[in-house]
Subunit: 192 residues, 2 copies
């Protein structure tokens, strides 16, 4: 029997990470998120900030075409992707756990008994949350969210060929803004 793993994909600011942590806490199993990033950092030699950004988002601005350019062999993103692949597979083999983000749903599709979850919320809920959680920036919270959403979807599409946010890719999707963070946790815990 393969280990049971909950993978949580989420829109930026939707509280998916908080939900993942609370679910893991209630179930008494580990939740991998920043821990995972640190683990990968050690293995790849990339800086933590770079891993955090490039392991989940397509590059923006001038480098936005980087994902589709392979003229000069594998890019840094490709190398990071292959490390990410190995780390996530190893974590799932270690034991039951919650893994937030980083295309774990795709990576583990044949390797673990996954409950695939997607968390989303409307712009208003997420804008308020990111200002509270990460503070104000020059860019408006709405612009930050649009940019993050776009790049996360592009990254997911490029490496997984799955439509990010499409209900059919997940066992359950939840609107954390409408249902509330704690209600989402209550729904997920008995499904493990």
């Amino acid at each position: 029997m393969k280990n049971r793993v909950i993978t949580i994909s989420r829109e930026f600011g939707s509280g998916g990470r908080t939900i993942g942590r609370k679910v893991a806490e209630r179930l008494g199993i580990p939740c991998y998120d920043s821990e995972l990033i640190q683990e990968m950092e050690k293995q790849t030699g990339f800086a933590a900030d770079y891993v955090k950004e490039a392991g989940e988002y397509a590059p923006g601005g001038f480098f936005s075409s980087a994902l589709s350019t392979r003229m000069f062999g594998p890019t840094n993103e490709d190398i990071l992707w292959s490390h990410q692949y190995k780390v996530i597979t190893a974590l799932a083999e270690k034991g039951p756990c919650v893994i937030v983000g980083r295309c774990a749903d795709y990576i583990l599709q044949d390797k673990a008994d996954c409950l695939k979850v997607f968390i989303h919320a409307d712009m208003k809920f997420r804008a308020e949350r990111i200002v509270k959680e990460y503070g104000e920036r020059d860019q408006s919270p709405e612009e930050r969210l649009k940019d993050k959403d776009k790049r996360r979807a592009a990254y997911h599409r490029f490496y997984t060929d799955m439509k990010w946010g499409h209900a059919q890719n997940y066992h359950i999707t939840l609107d954390s803004g409408a249902l509330g963070i704690d209600k989402c946790v209550d729904i997920l815990v008995p499904l493990f």
Copy 2:
């Protein structure tokens, strides 16, 4: 306070209608589906079979362009849509209920306190279910499902401008094949 209504959109064969009925039964509230069709039939004068088909699916084959052709004024589909709109609004005003399909999520978006649900399942689960439920046909169950899915999505897009099956349109989406019909009911009942 607006009435609380559960709207269930679903892929053909996913068991969304069964889930709707079971949820309504557990909550002691009405579930509108074939009852709704009959109600509309009375009001429109259209035959029941036509209402059932044209109130949810884009026309196929030779008439597939009918939805986008408005040269000769409103089509039968448009007239049916406006009746559907009135009937669903009236049902939601009458009291708490479950409404399965027929774009009720869109119609009621400002008129009721809706829990918007989408039920889906993989091809294998749905193919087995439709053969069991509706019997064999000349067309393979997979072809029947693909045709139904395509036309239901086209109908939804035309009248609602919403992407059918996109997680962001719903408060909760459930894979009835992976989770099981009864588990879906268990998840939904406490959310009412």
